[in-house]
């Protein structure tokens, strides 16, 4: 039974995902004329945080401690479903992308409850904004996956990405281009990148994702940072699989090419972050509605074909 390949793919994802954040930060530093943090910075941070003793607020209960645990477990489970370089992972079945969407919803649920547990106004603010963005991002994401299902005629993620070839791009280029754009916007919003949210802001009033992690420390914060990097990998690999249709039958060359594309996606995110300013908070739903418009256009085109 083929377990070595999916297992090594899975391990590779778990090990390499913090690199994406390092690439993004390096690209941003390049644009700013700085040298920037080392690419392996997140690994050093995780190592340091796991060794620290946490501080807990007296207001918090077990919900606060359970939040990071549940959210990182949910994202790791979602990775077991995610295809790698167009090849299926462990759990690949009909409708598995619904499972991924709802696992990400579980991660968001746990994080928001942990934030509300601190009884702090700032964390409540971040939680409220997080749920608001979810309301607009989920339909856009769902419609995009529906359009992709219709383009490829498959209903599982691995099937969809496995059926995408260079020919699909030649025949349905507008639809796939719209879908890539829509997924990229959802990636920016879900992973707290500029223009939806600024990961480097130090003003609590402007934070969304960072403020929810404001009270966590030690291993809890390490779980949160690691979960965020895994989530970035998840969304990035969806775009990577779409942009890079599978060509050869060789597993090694496909994987290597896919890793290169993932770093290219991270670099693209870095470029976008450096080129744009963060949007005003009330405009961010409009950005997500634009993603929704792209997805629905793609679906309309595909339904009428």
């Amino acid at each position: 039974m083929e377990t070595i390949k999916p297992l090594s793919q899975y391990l590779a994802v778990m090990l390499l995902s913090p690199l994406l954040l390092g690439v993004i930060n390096r690209v941003k530093a390049f644009f700013a004329g700085r040298r920037g943090q080392p690419v392996l910075q997140l690994y050093f941070d995780l190592y340091k945080l796991f060794a620290k003793t946490p501080v807990y607020s007296r207001t918090t209960t077990w919900v606060f401690k359970a939040g990071p645990i549940v959210s990182v477990s949910a994202v790791v489970t979602a990775l077991a479903v995610l295809p790698f370089a167009g090849r299926p992972s462990f759990l690949s079945f009909e409708g598995d992308f619904v499972f991924i969407i709802y696992l990400l919803g579980l991660a968001r649920f746990a994080t928001v409850l942990a934030a509300l547990d601190t009884g702090s106004a700032f964390e409540g603010m971040g939680a409220s904004r997080e749920m608001q963005f979810g309301v607009f991002a989920e339909p856009a994401f769902f419609l995009g996956l529906a359009a992709l299902a219709r383009v490829t005629g498959q209903t599982s993620l691995a099937g969809m990405f496995g059926a995408l070839t260079g020919d699909s791009w030649r025949v349905a280029a507008p639809v796939l281009a719209l879908l890539t754009a829509s997924f990229f916007i959802v990636l920016l919003a879900e992973n707290s990148r500029v223009p939806a949210d600024d990961p480097n802001t130090h003003l609590e009033l402007t934070m969304i994702h960072e403020v929810m992690a404001l009270d966590h420390s030690g291993p809890d914060l390490a779980y949160i940072l690691y979960g965020a990097s895994l989530k970035l990998w998840l969304f990035g690999s969806l775009i990577g699989c779409m942009v890079l249709p599978r060509h050869s039958g060789s597993w090694a060359s496909d994987c290597a090419l896919f890793l290169l594309v993932m770093f290219a996606v991270a670099a693209a995110v870095g470029v976008v972050e450096s080129a744009m300013a963060r949007l005003r908070l009330t405009i961010v739903p409009y950005m997500l509605i634009t993603a929704f418009a792209f997805s629905s256009l793609a679906l309309i085109f595909q339904l009428g074909r």
Partner: protein, 655 residues
């Protein structure tokens, strides 16, 4: 079948016993509760047997009522509704013993328990009735006993108003049902369900619409839902659990039965169900986001879930009309599974709300907070219920919705109108899911987490042992139904088969079992990963004692509980965005001085359907009726003259 009759007898007997023992509230409570639990066990056995074996049991007794016959049918569809009913009523009875304990002496507990058992018996009668007259008898008994239970706290004007609206809606629904049943059984000597056959095309549509509105007034989908957010919060919590968990499903059951009579279906029926479902889903979730009382949040969430069930039914009907039978079977199975799942987690949620009411004395979200420190077990169980309600893996809400999603995606890959139906279904489910997640994190977060906002919340007490037992049982069932969803597929398939007699058998269900098994495997993987992550965290902490402090809060050293995000502030970005739908009316503080002072703020989402449509319509009808008030003048002689004139007129007509 004998056991079903036995459960009826136990229920009625215990109801009478509870009434008789009204002088001694504790004895009455014991009589009622034991009777309910015994009847539940007695009723569960034949229901589960029917689901496992797939056989139908019928009982036919002579009854001198015209057009009626005492026919009881226990087929897999009825059994599929009876199982959650008996589970929920049994556990609610156990819960109610602790919940109603402190009302002893202040309220007539004997009457309350008698009404509760009568309600259970009536619902069992509705699900097993094989004759229209018997069905209507059970229906009206259900309405009457639940009306009594809603009026439990009748000293509050709000409760009286809610009960009145509830009674009116129920009465209107019963009228429409009578009309549709008489059309279905026109010309027959006895209105047996087995003798109903589909009338001609136009008449079939009329029957469908009458039944849809009549049962809709009980199921509570938009736009026939205005009584639900009033009545369900007004009743005591264990009764709310039963009402939301299973009584509104009686409406769904009725629609499924009538659809079974009206084969062959017309496609526009499916589209009607689909649009009603989509509207109820999204609007229900949206309105639940804007409520500030915990039980109203749960009531609107029930509207959302009934919408999901209607959505799946509509998808199935459209599928059958275009002959995509496997897909239709999937959609119907998803609808039925959601019936079961919703009753489990909604029962749990209402019991949790009851714990909050019991412990803190109020269910107003802005007056609660920090309850997870005072009532940790109830908080954990409420969070489990919220996770199930938001359809999060590994709980049961996700498994049911997953089947509907598969149906939607399979229809997406086919041609024509079915693809459009799939898009509408999937999009509504996704939007409603995101809105419901926001609503439940808001409700659970504001009530249970953070710091207490009032004295009452700070002094809340934990729930009693029986209340916790019921909630734990339901939470465990939620988890088991989620992980064991592949096992529920066969009973659901049998129920669908007995309801509609779809061709192509159960092949579609075998195909659906595979993804469900993967979902269960994924759920188990998730639980294992949570355990591993928790263990590793403990290993990392390695015996170090974490430090304690105040919440960081940007370094502000003296935060108060009122500074936290509350229910209305949490939902404000979304409620502002959807203002044209929610029509919030608010009073905002006017800042006129330089220094901080007192200010007040209030925001209330209106009951839009009631204020814009039903209330003006009712006012018009009332004004029209006032025109005829001259007929009611109070003079006895003229009333006698009315009687004489009518009798003479009838005599002349007959001649």
């Amino acid at each position: 079948m004998v056991l079903v009759l036995l459960s009826f007898v136990i229920l009625l007997f215990s109801a009478l016993l509870a009434l008789g023992l009204s002088r001694n509230p504790h004895r009455a409570q014991d009589a009622g509760a034991y009777g309910a639990v015994a009847a539940s066990v007695a009723g569960l056995i034949p229901s589960v047997q029917t689901l496992l074996s797939g056989r139908t049991a019928t009982l036919c007794l002579p009854w001198p009522v015209p057009l009626g016959s005492l026919t009881l049918t226990l087929d897999p569809l009825a059994a599929f509704f009876l199982v959650p009913m008996f589970i929920l009523t049994g556990l609610s009875a156990v819960y109610g013993v602790d919940y109603l304990r402190h009302y002893a002496g202040k309220k007539p507990l004997g009457l309350a328990w008698a009404a509760f058992n009568a309600l259970t018996a009536a619902m069992a009668l509705v699900f097993t009735a094989g004759n229209a007259v018997l069905f209507m008898l059970g229906w009206e008994l259900m309405a009457a006993s639940s009306f009594l239970l809603v009026l439990f706290e009748h000293e509050k004007a709000q409760v009286r108003r809610a009960a009145f609206i509830y009674l009116t809606a129920g009465g209107a629904g019963a009228l429409l049902l009578l009309a549709s049943f008489s059309l279905l059984g026109a010309g027959a000597a006895v209105l047996d369900f087995s003798s109903f056959s589909a009338p001609s095309r136009g008449l079939a549509s009329v029957v469908f619409l009458l039944a849809l509105c009549g049962f809709g007034l009980k199921a509570g989908f938009v736009p026939l839902h205005i009584w639900l957010p009033e009545a369900h919060p007004a009743a005591p919590s264990h009764v709310s659990a039963v009402m939301s968990g299973i009584m509104i499903k009686a409406g769904v059951y009725g629609i499924i039965r009538v659809l079974g009579f009206l084969v062959p279906w017309q496609e526009w029926w499916g589209w009607t169900l689909l649009f009603i479902g989509a509207a109820s889903c999204v609007l229900g979730a949206l309105f639940s986001l804007a409520q500030h009382e915990l039980k109203r949040v749960l009531a609107y969430s029930s509207i959302e879930n009934v919408g999901i069930i209607m959505l799946a039914l509509g998808l199935g009907v459209i599928g059958v009309s275009v002959r995509a039978y496997p897909l239709a079977g999937l959609a119907f199975a998803g609808a039925l599974l959601h019936v079961l799942n919703h009753s489990l987690f909604k029962g749990l949620l209402f019991m949790g709300a009851g714990s909050v009411l019991h412990g803190a004395g109020t269910a107003e979200l802005e007056a609660l907070g920090g309850l997870s420190k005072r009532m940790p077990r109830a908080a954990l169980l409420f969070l489990v219920g919220s996770a199930a309600a938001c359809a999060l893996p590994p709980f049961n809400g996700f498994a049911g919705e997953f089947l509907i999603y598969i149906g939607a995606f399979r229809s997406l890959n086919s041609a024509g109108p079915l693809a459009l139906a799939g898009v509408i279904a999937g999009l509504s489910l996704a939007s409603a899911g995101a809105l419901a997640a926001a609503a439940f994190t808001r409700a659970a977060g504001t009530a249970f987490l953070g710091e207490p906002r009032t004295e009452r919340a700070a002094n809340a007490c934990e729930s009693g042992p029986l209340m916790l037992f019921s909630m734990r049982a339901l939470a465990l069932l939620c988890l088991l139904a989620g992980l064991g969803a592949p096992f529920l597929l066969l009973p659901a398939a049998r129920a669908v088969g007995s309801a509609f007699g779809l061709p192509s058998g159960y092949a579609a269900f075998d195909a659906a079992a595979v993804p469900l098994t993967y979902i269960s495997a994924g759920g188990l993987l998730l639980l294992a990963l949570i355990a591993i992550a928790a263990a590793k965290r403990r290993a990392f902490l390695g015996g170090k004692i974490p430090a304690e402090g105040v919440t960081w809060d940007c370094g502000y050293a003296a935060p108060t509980a009122r500074m936290q995000y509350g229910a209305s502030s949490f939902a404000q970005p979304l409620t502002d965005f959807f203002q044209p739908v929610l029509r919030k009316i608010g009073q905002y503080p006017v800042i006129s001085e330089y220094f901080p002072g007192k200010a007040s703020f209030s925001a209330e989402a209106q009951a839009v359907f009631y204020n814009s449509f039903y209330y003006p319509a009712a006012a018009r009808i009332r004004d029209l009726a006032y025109r005829f008030s001259w007929l009611q003048h109070g003079r006895l002689q003229i009333y006698i003259m009315y009687i004489v004139v009518t009798l003479m007129g009838l005599l002349l007509w007959k001649l």
